[in-house]
Amino acid sequence: MTNIITTRDFKSNAKEALANKTLQKALTHVEAGFIGKRRLAMEALPEFDQLRDNARDIKNHTLANLDAYLEEYEEKVVASGGKVHWAADGEEACNQILDICRNVGARTVTKGKSMIAEEIGINDFLEKNDIEPVETDLGEYIIQLRGETPSHIIAPAVHVLKEQVEEDFRRVHDHLPVSRNLEEPESLLDEARKVLRAKFLNADVGITGANFLIAETGTSVIVTNEGNGDLTQIVPKVHIVLASIEKVTPTLDDVSQILRVLARSATGQEISVYTTFSTGPKRQGDVDGPEEYHVIILDNGRSNMIGSEFQDMLRCIRCGSCMNHCPVYHAVGGHAYGWVYPGPMGAVLTPSLMGVKDGGQLPNASTFCGRCEAVCPMRIPLPKMMRHWREREFEKHLNPASQRWGLNFWAFFAKRPRLYHLATSLGIPLLSLFGRRKGYFKYLPLASGWTKYRDLPAPETRTFQQQWAQREALKQGGAK
């Protein structure tokens, strides 16, 4: 699998995605599978909004004291027998992981789901160094077989239909009888369970991400439904935790506050099946558990977000709620975004991590409808931050000439209200006149980007301002 970054091609990616019938069918599962369940879970907990406020405040407090919290956390990990490695970027993190693997002569590495692992491209790196990485989350396993990247941060294979999974399993699991029935999702899950069980038991190293790092106890936390993350970290002799600097959270109680909004926002569950707190390697007297426990703390651009207008983004707990509710994500899916993080959170985070030159297309992929901010459990002002990125893109002259010309043209009128009103009061009645017969336009010069996919409604007879003035005048007349 090779991760080719195509963030700059968002527009053409999106066009392809819109024309892809299989993808469009698969994307219907996003709306059906997530939105209603989240609402029900939220309604069943009257304190939900209070908990969102608390979760936001806890993270804000942590970010305002981040250096001190990271130091406390590190001290506690070391005290419990674990080892902490600091990685400035993905390359350094990959090399640290490789060193740990080589130290124990590892050939196979099992992996729990980790977005950071995707961010640093650890699978490619391990393969190149003759170590086999095995994804164990069912969704991640499916896309690993397909040589794809995740299209959703909590449902990585949401773009894949079950018929495609069957094809992939038949292709890769060629040691199993051809005549077996794989029509039902149950049989697919069963087959994955059997194949991966053998991998779990034979792995030398297990790599997991972390939903939280707890400063109070030096603990890493993972949240899963399948139990794959637990088998990844409890069976092999080495457990590596891959986490970024903003995952640190003060106390067990603080984490519990945030956990109350995480699963509800993500899958609509009150809590995920498995929430696991790991502290150091196995203890004296323990009969299972890893002999070595390593934590890689990755920066990769995040420390530069502290103190910037994008700091709030570091509160994100990766629940996926913003993309589940995003009309743009519903239309184009996650791959169109071209890298690891899709949807509204991806549109803000991607340019923060890779720069506005490469990631600046993504913040344009929003209608600013505001649903992402409305559902965000951490109350991250996503639309505001996307607007900041748009401003930066404009300031740096990175958007295409036609767009800049259009914006300048509009700005010229917008800054001159009398001219603006004159232009619209001439233009709108004209459009109204031409569109009167049908009530809509199938084609308009300079507006084919709109009319190619849908009709443009013909305007009412006059501009809003004209109608308003007339209404007010009538009111005045009536009062007399």
């Binding site: 599962h29 059906a32 997530f34 009257p46 304190e47 908990l51 806890i58 407090h61 305002a64 004291n65 981040l66 406390e72 600091w86 400035a88 989350d137 069912l138 969704g139 449902a155 294979a157 949401v158 239909l161 079950k162 999702p185 149950e186 697919l188 899950l189 069980r197 779990f200 038991l201 109070e216 106890t217 439904n225 399948e226 637990d230 088998l231 069976v235 600097i245 003060p250 067990l252 109680d253 603080d254 519990s256 506050q257 899958t267 995920s272 099946v273 498995y274 929430t275 707190f277 790991s278 150091g280 196995k282 203890r283 007297g285 009969v287 299972d288 558990g289 920066d299 530069n304 103190g307």
Partner: protein, 224 residues
């Protein structure tokens, strides 16, 4: 300069604009020692009897099955019944927990008991929980030779024994108990919150039970 120093240095420089490092360190120490509780949902603030009922209701909502027995002496029969009713082999693995090891197993039908962690060959595993959380029907288990963590995940069927008095309303109450038991700032190697049997929604967002962990989770609540 090491990456550690570079990363912490960058954060430090930015944060110094708003506060002094020593003030930040104090703020951190204060929060870690006070560990304020935050908001505890009303549904978790109940008397013991109501907590137990809520625990059972919530657990059953997420496909955990529940059996209540009057005393520890009833546990062997409850397990034997469950295995028989579900056509499971008459044997299991469990850890060295004395509350389980000292039970009158001979009174139940012949059960083959293996003591120690699971190696993946056991159909059934039995554990004793540290406690339960009524709010979401969640079990809390801690690692160690008494209840090895592999038993929670490798067998297809997981049977968990929990004392009714160990069931609290909220997560925070159990953190307080763990702090008392293991010391402040310390935890056992693994603490597992388990809420129902394993599941996945990764194929077309349809929830299916029995992904990588147990396909069934059976809880025996001992009135003790």
């Amino acid at each position: 300069m090491t990456s550690r120093d570079a990363i912490l240095g960058r954060i430090n420089t930015t944060l110094n604009r708003a506060s002094e490092k020593s003030a930040r360190q104090q703020a951190v120490k204060a929060r870690l020692s006070k560990h304020p509780k935050g908001t505890i949902p009303a549904r978790a603030r109940l008397d013991k009897k109501a907590q137990l009922k809520l625990f059972c209701d919530q657990a059953e909502k997420v496909q955990t099955s529940i059996r209540r027995v009057k005393s520890y002496n009833g546990v062997p029969k409850a397990i034997a019944d469950y295995l028989r009713d579900h056509n499971l082999p008459a044997g299991f693995c469990m850890g060295e927990d004395e509350r389980l090891q000292n039970l009158p197993w001979e009174k139940a039908r012949a059960l083959e008991i293996k003591t120690g962690p699971s190696d993946g060959e056991d159909a059934v595993g039995v554990s004793h929980a540290f406690g339960g959380i009524a709010e979401t029907g969640t079990l809390l288990l801690v690692s160690g030779k008494d209840n090895p963590t592999t038993i929670n995940f490798l067998p297809e069927t997981h049977v968990v024994v929990v004392r009714s008095r160990d069931i609290d309303g909220d997560y925070e109450s159990l953190w307080s108990r763990l702090r008392k038991e293991y010391g402040t700032g310390k935890l056992p190697r693994t603490v597992n919150w388990i809420t129902g049997p394993s599941r996945s929604g990764d194929i077309q967002q349809t929830i299916l039970l029995g992904a990588h962990g147990p396909r069934s989770l059976h809880v025996i609540v001992v009135d003790a």
